[in-house]
Amino acid sequence: MSATPRRGFLVGTGAFGATALLTGCLANDPPQQQPAAVAAGGDNAAPGPQVTIGFSAPAADHGWMAAMTTNARAQAEGLPDVTFRATEGGTDVNQQIAQVETLINEQVDVLVILPADGKALTDVARRATEAGIPVVNVDRVFDSPDAYRVWIGGDNHGMGVNAADHIAAELRRRNIADPVIAEIAGTDSLPLTQERSAGFREGLARHGMRVSRRVAADFTAESGERQATNLLQAAAHLDAVWNHDDDQGIGVLAGIAAAGREDFFLVGGAGSRDMMDRIKAGDGVVQATVLYNPSMCSSAISLARLLAQARGMSDLAEHEVPRSITTYSAVVTRANVDQYLDVGFAS
């Protein structure tokens, strides 16, 4: 993996040689992902007719998105009756539309689409459906129910509510009256961020609390560090912080460590392995994380297989796969972290 990308850069630049030899050849051994395999119950596990699953997701530009693709692949590889046909993630919506068109032309049995933008991909998903290919829509929902057979995704609003409930309970346990609560949101222009924030606000309001300070980062470690640093300057004292995303959380924690602050506890979001390890260790500010877990993409592959094989979910009384499934944003704390370590993704 290290040799090929290196080649282009070495042309004409002798200066590179030394570094490359020192690190390039030996480096680049990223930590192994923890693919989240979902155990199928009942006779769902029994092999069925051979099916081809087409998969399309946006470019994996950070840990959570990378884990979505990795999980899908791992799940498919574990199913002997599935042929997995993935397209390489693109950076823009047009590219993803083209990828889905390719998969339609190849006449895969079922499509799993995680759209970069649900609205923009609705049309091509509808065309797939019309061409007789059922579509499993993951996470960002299409504009029209005609465009998909099954939707599976996370609960952004519920994520905010559960974070609020946990924080309120913890503050009450610590006997803190009139707490100062801060929120480090993700990219503000995304509906998912707005839903998370709304859920958090409403959840706190039910406990008679409110968000005192709010900043928005961009789901990257760097932006998390920048926003956390400014936030900690702005507030001399904090009681609790909810950070929407564990990828940006790496930066947030760096900012907190640099400021040397320990006056509050932090609740994360998404459920990365790193955060779970910190929760388990229990010696820092990280106290919990609210799941929005990429294991949903593993489940999407299982659902796609059952759809293509015209089977239902054996644990349910229904003959068919349900129309929509919302994953639960459980709060992972020190008490239950061991139960969730298997779905913790590498950020």
Partner: protein
């Protein structure tokens, strides 16, 4: 502040006297904007704004983008543009934090960042100078491929630094001031001296002002252009070290939009986008303006979208102001 200028407009005599007086006016305007922001910051949060901790925070946040902007000032002064700085920061940060580099320790990590940065910058420079590729295109290509390579190397995962010595050096304080701020100051001082006090600087401005004239004057324009881009790459390597020190990790998402922030800072700082005139001090004040803006907004718990609107307004204002001073001086 003493700034070098070589454009014909600036060498004409004017009511304001010699050229450095006009350079002063530009800088004074920028300083006034910065002071204005500080006044707003102090007026709204007297308890938090002018504290030692907050000033140190602003400077540390400005450090990485400031160092990148110093490199960008050279490139733009020489009549070029570098769109790849953000991607180069990402690539350097990832390269220096891959596990093998980390296992060789802090020195190898730092050397990696500097070499990779310089190397990428040199590739840009060679493409522009000897390959005759337009700077916009050459660096656009680097912008895409360096980010891609960073994603490839990191597996799109954030590479956390596990070398205690690295943190001990780059997150430490020296004489009560964070090491990062020292590095930022050193790079600025070095950049200022190089641009204003050396043959290299004079040649940079000459190449940017009129490449043909510079060639006839005996300057090896191609070699000089290549060196200027390599210098910008080196700055990206230094910035990557700073970003890694701040975030304790290397990621392919590091340095997003640095090219735009750096170009904005350089242009409002008074460096001509067409080349031939460069103001290192202006650039650094530009960076400080944007960083302070974001700090003041966060202190007052304001939304980020409003912050972006104000940022845009400041860019337009500063450039309009400079256009006015330039017109006045050339018409007088």
């Amino acid at each position: 502040m003493n700034e070098q200028t070589l454009t014909p407009v600036d060498t004409q005599p004017s009511r304001l006297g010699s050229w450095w007086a006009r350079a002063d006016i530009r800088l004074i305007a920028l300083v006034l904007v910065l002071v204005g922001l500080c006044v707003v910051g102090y007026a709204t949060r007297p308890d938090a704004f002018l504290t030692e901790g907050n000033i140190s925070t602003v400077l540390r946040l400005a450090a990485a983008i400031g160092v990148v902007s110093v490199g960008m000032t050279f490139v733009i002064s020489a009549g070029g543009i570098d769109l790849s700085v953000g991607s180069m920061v990402a690539l350097c940060s990832v390269w220096m934090t891959t596990w093998a580099a980390q296992s060789y320790g802090v020195v190898v990590m730092v050397v990696c960042a500097l070499l990779v940065g310089t190397g990428c910058g040199l590739v840009n420079g060679l493409l522009v100078a000897y390959g005759r590729v337009v700077p916009f295109i050459a660096t656009l290509a680097m912008m895409a491929s360096a980010r891609g390579l960073a994603e490839r190397i990191s597996g799109r995962q954030t590479q956390v630094v596990d070398v205690p010595a690295f943190g001990a050096v780059f997150q430490a304080d020296l004489l009560g001031v964070p090491v990062l701020i020292w590095i930022f100051a050193a790079v600025f001082a070095g950049g200022w001296t190089l641009l204003n006090r050396t043959t290299f600087g004079r040649r940079t401005l000459a190449v940017g002002g009129n490449a043909e004239a510079a060639r006839l004057a005996g300057i090896n324009v191609r070699r000089h252009t290549a060196l200027v881009y390599a210098l910008a790459g080196l700055c990206c390597g230094i910035a990557a070290i700073m970003v890694v020190a701040r975030t304790t990790s290397g990621a392919s998402t590091n340095g997003l939009f640095y090219e735009l922030d750096a170009i904005a800072a350089v242009v409002i700082g008074g460096t001509l986008l067409a080349g031939g005139r460069g103001s290192m001090t202006g650039t650094v004040i530009g960076v400080l303006i944007f960083t302070t803006l974001s700090n003041v907004f966060t202190l007052n718990n304001l939304e980020t979208d409003v912050q972006n609107i104000v940022k845009g307004a400041i860019i337009v204002l500063a450039v309009l102001l400079q256009a006015r001073t330039r017109r006045r001086s050339s018409f007088s």
